[in-house]
């Protein structure tokens, strides 16, 4: 049983949203950078999920 790609994409979207909230609300530059890392990881997850399944 394979998990549909849409769930991975939704999780990626949620992570990206959390990173965006972190970028917008944090004031420390280092914490903003950590939130950007979270966004990068979300995009990585989307790319891997897309590459795992074929159209």
């Amino acid at each position: 049983v394979r998990t549909p790609i849409a769930f991975y994409l939704m999780l990626s979207g949620i992570l990206f949203m959390l990173g965006t909230v972190g970028v917008l609300t944090r004031k420390n530059a280092l914490l903003i950078f950590m939130s950007v890392e979270l966004q990068l990881n979300a995009v990585n997850l989307a790319l891997v999920a897309r590459g795992c399944t074929t159209t």
């Binding site: 549909p4 979207g13 909230v21 795992c52």
Partner: protein
Amino acid sequence: MLLVRNAVHAALFLIVNFFCLAVFYLLLDAPFLFAVQIVVYAGAIMVLFLFVIMLLGVDSGVPVRERLLIQRPLAFVLAAAFVVELFLAIRAGVGFATRAPDVFAANDGGNTQAVAKVLFTQYFFPFEVTSVLLLVAAIAAMVLAHRKAPTVTQAEIDAAAGKLEAGEMPVYGAGGAP
């Protein structure tokens, strides 16, 4: 990670997040990416973050009064709108059907070997461009971190020489106790 005050706690939550993502990579038939995620992100990058946090000092325990009164709820509202829009786009674009993966054929003979084969043949030029980008970043870091040496003007040299001749400055290494 977003709501905690302490920066070190936020970094630790980010480590937990990285490990969860590594497990997702393992579920997606990417064991090489799993290992790289744990080694690079949870190992190197988080050590870098914690090192910088410890080096710069954490203002822990002292809750800074937030002056971003309007931005904070606005950020949450905009993020919620963004994620709803993203869900609609995913539902319209991809759908929720499970598709049969053929990644097993690509992973014949090991995932790491497959990654290396593709990376060094088909995607060799982007790989080299990435390495050049890393080199540029390293050189830029060195240039930015390099402090400018104090320049000595000719007038200062002349003034120092004048003081030396007038006997106002002690001459070291010339023998003889002052």
